[in-house]
């Protein structure tokens, strides 16, 4: 699969997944790679950047039999950003679809 597609999209997927439910990093890697093949390293820098921009808050939670997990939780700004990016993506991909579907 064209890796250029993936780059812009992984961030939007992270935003969307966290806006539906609080997540920790590893969980996001698994959720995304169930559909798109990504390298483990890409998710954490994205999480850090989105947290810095104010889209996520973080908290620690003890896990059974293991070190505490850092969870990411969506903020109101993050929710807005997620909705905007989703809308942009749907518009963009329908335009692309129109272009590639018209065979002549």
């Amino acid at each position: 699969m064209n890796s250029q597609f993936k780059k812009g999209v992984v961030e939007m997927c992270v935003l969307s997944l966290v806006s539906k439910k609080d997540r920790y990093g590893y969980e996001l890697i698994e959720a995304i790679s169930s559909e798109i093949e990504i390298s483990e390293g890409t998710v954490y820098p994205i999480l850090r950047r989105l947290t810095k921009e104010g889209y996520f808050d973080t908290y620690l939670e003890e896990s059974k039999g293991g070190p505490p997990r850092k969870y990411y939780k969506i903020t109101p700004e993050g929710k807005t950003a997620s909705q905007m990016q989703k809308k942009d993506w749907l518009e963009f991909s329908s335009k692309v679809k129109r272009l590639v579907d018209t065979e002549k």
Partner: protein, 197 residues
């Protein structure tokens, strides 16, 4: 080894990157290891899947320096990054050294002589142009002589400027090639050292 030891070694191996980037990387890797362990994987297995601290650091360093080449505007910064990346690529594998050393030296010498030659031509053209205005001013302008020299020196000047333009185009081409080669290296290393979940 424990994850504290692993991360300490990784931090040492990452020397050369900016402090901020190193802290980010260590914090990311720490979070990843903790998360993976909290999901039931053993510390040993997770650390093994990352590869040795040195090989992980090498591929991360390359990735971060290549990112900076892509992002940087100024040509001088670009050349400094390239020298840095060339150093890391050399460290990566002896094979890279054998492949790169000769061509890089040859390319740099060629580019240097090209730009020097172009500069000389530009100066010659400019000097000729100026000289004959000075001569004409003192000794009077002879039309045919002046016209010939005028167009001749403009021609020389243009040749020099074309040489400079070609130099810039070829530099950008070599930079593109170098970046592709470096990214190909990264993908090879990733295939070797990264585990699949």
């Amino acid at each position: 080894m424990t994850r504290e030891e692993y991360l300490k070694q990784l931090r040492t191996e990452l020397r050369g990157l900016e402090e901020r980037d190193i802290n980010d990387i260590i914090s990311d890797q720490e979070e990843f290891i903790r998360d993976a362990m909290s999901a039931g994987r053993s510390e040993d297995e997770v650390l093994r899947s990352l590869g040795s601290p040195k090989s992980l650091a090498d591929s991360l360093k390359l990735e971060y320096k290549v990112k900076r080449i892509d992002a940087s505007e100024s040509t001088w910064e670009t050349y400094k990054e390239i020298l840095g990346s060339a150093g890391i690529l050399l460290a990566l594998a002896p094979l890279n050294f054998i492949i790169l050393f000769g061509p890089v030296v040859a390319i740099l010498s060629f580019m240097f002589s090209w730009i020097v030659a172009s500069a000389v031509v530009v100066f010659t053209g400019a000097a000729l142009l100026i000289a004959q205005f000075v001569v004409g001013f003192f000794a009077g302008f002879n039309f045919v002589q002046t016209a010939t020299l005028l167009f001749g020196s403009i021609g020389v000047l243009s040749l020099g400027l074309i040489g400079v333009a070609i130099f810039i185009i070829i530099s950008k081409l070599f930079i593109r090639i170098f970046i592709s080669y470096a990214q190909w290296n990264i993908s090879l290393i990733k295939k070797n050292t990264e585990g699949r979940i």
